[in-house]
Amino acid sequence: MQKLATPLSDVTFLRAGDLVSISGIIYTARDVAHKRLIHLINNGEPLPFDLDGAIIYYVGPCPAKPGRPIGSAGPTTSSRMDVLTAPLLKQGLKGMIGKGGRSAEVITAIKKHGAVYFAAVGGAGALISQHIKDSEIIAYPELGTEAIRRLVVEDFPVIVAIDSMGNNLYEHGPMT
């Protein structure tokens, strides 16, 4: 088990199949939020959070019950974000958390920028939510569950699915 803290610096030592636990700050964004981020980048406008060394988690959480920071919060299908990912990696995004495979274009960009793609266990949203200690909407509240949230996570469990060498758990199985 590798322990990582955010923001990420060098992640090139990670290998597909490694079990990793993340502590620190991660940001949520899915389909519509990605479209808006790309729009801001294309227009040279400031982003709602610093992408340098950041991790984006593809998730649309359930509402929080009273006394809890967030509801169930497991990963959504990453491939929907494939065409909107390379520009974010170019801006310094270092890690992504989701589920399922990625396109050849994304894998190329991951290699080029020395980034990493993590998988969380899909359909384990109740369990995963226990590792989220705080949640705050920082952009696009009108998107509801799709808003961009700043999450404080503790020992958030993921597995390296695509490493910076382009090794792909979905194609070749674990490296270690």
Partner: protein, 280 residues
């Protein structure tokens, strides 16, 4: 003639929606337990272990098993001798869904128009399939259907002369192409025959058969069994990380069709195969 009150349908629908989202059906839980034992990949085994733990946490804490609490699909079988008092059946079901999703802190994923894409903010409307049956009861089956698996579903109109092997390949390819996206180990509903929309409906209905049940027709029971073996040989495995447990069950529902065709629909459900039913 039996009278069923609108408010009773609202309350029962709400109860079913909450139950389905918090409590994984026992047959699904047991099938996952069995899959964990059978799984050959250590990583696959630990994934199933996590999924089982998640189901226990969701039940204890009354949290959604999965944050994708879905579009609510309801099969409403209405006895011909039932009269509903106080409002429309569809309105009662939608009101029950609305209350459950608000009070249960469940995610609202439904948008009002597929092009404009404005969230309805209460997870309604449900997709309701009505059918008229004998008797004086109302049978409701409710399933919150997540879209990770729904998006990976397919339909194809085969030719009547196509070999059964082509159909098997189409079904297996659907699973391989879906990879980890539909959250394997999955449950598969296959609709054979009818028309385009009938095949889709049969496939959906098939998803909610009890795990362990076999098709009453021998040749289709054998096809279910063969497909399950073929799918588990693909190596997709839990979450697509590789392994022997890609599907927990394959269920076929069939209907007579036209001499010129053979519609085949493949509907996938994730391991969080949530559903609940009740009779009023």
């Amino acid at each position: 003639m039996k009278t069923i009150k609108y408010t009773d349908i609202v309350n029962k629908t709400k109860e079913l929606a909450l139950e389905a989202n918090f409590n994984l059906p026992k047959d699904v839980y047991n099938a996952l337990l069995e899959a964990k034992e059978k799984e050959t990949s250590p990583l696959g085994k630990s994934v199933i272990e996590i999924v089982l733990k998640n189901a226990r946490v969701a039940k204890e804490e009354q949290l959604a098993i999965c944050q994708d609490t879905g579009v609510v699909v309801v099969f409403a079988e209405i006895g011909q001798d039932v009269r509903i008092e106080g409002g429309l059946l569809a309105d009662a079901i939608n009101e029950g869904v609305r209350q459950a999703y608000e009070e249960g802190y469940l995610r609202k994923s439904v948008i009002s128009d597929p092009v404009e894409r404005i969230n309805t903010a209460d997870n309604t409307p449900a997709v309701i399939h009505f059918s008229l049956v004998e008797g004086d009861q109302l049978h409701l089956t409710l399933a919150p259907k997540g879209f990770g698996s729904e998006n990976m579903s397919r339909l194809k109109m085969f030719k009547p002369t196509d070999d059964i092997e082509l159909i098997k390949n189409f079904i297996v390819d659907t699973v391989v192409e879906a990879g980890g996206n539909p959250c394997p180990p999955i449950i598969m509903g296959i609709g054979l025959g009818g028309t385009m929309e009938k095949a889709g409906l049969l496939a959906k209905k098939a998803l909610f058969r009890k795990i362990g049940s076999k098709h009453p027709k021998k040749h289709l029971a054998e096809l279910e069994e063969e497909l399950l073996i073929l799918i588990n040989k693909t190596g997709v495995g839990p979450q697509g990380f590789g392994g022997s447990q890609t599907a927990l069950a394959v269920f076929i529902e069939e209907f007579p069709t036209h001499i010129a065709g053979l519609p085949v629909a493949v509907n996938l459900n994730c391991h969080a195969a949530r559903h609940a039913e009740a009779i009023l």
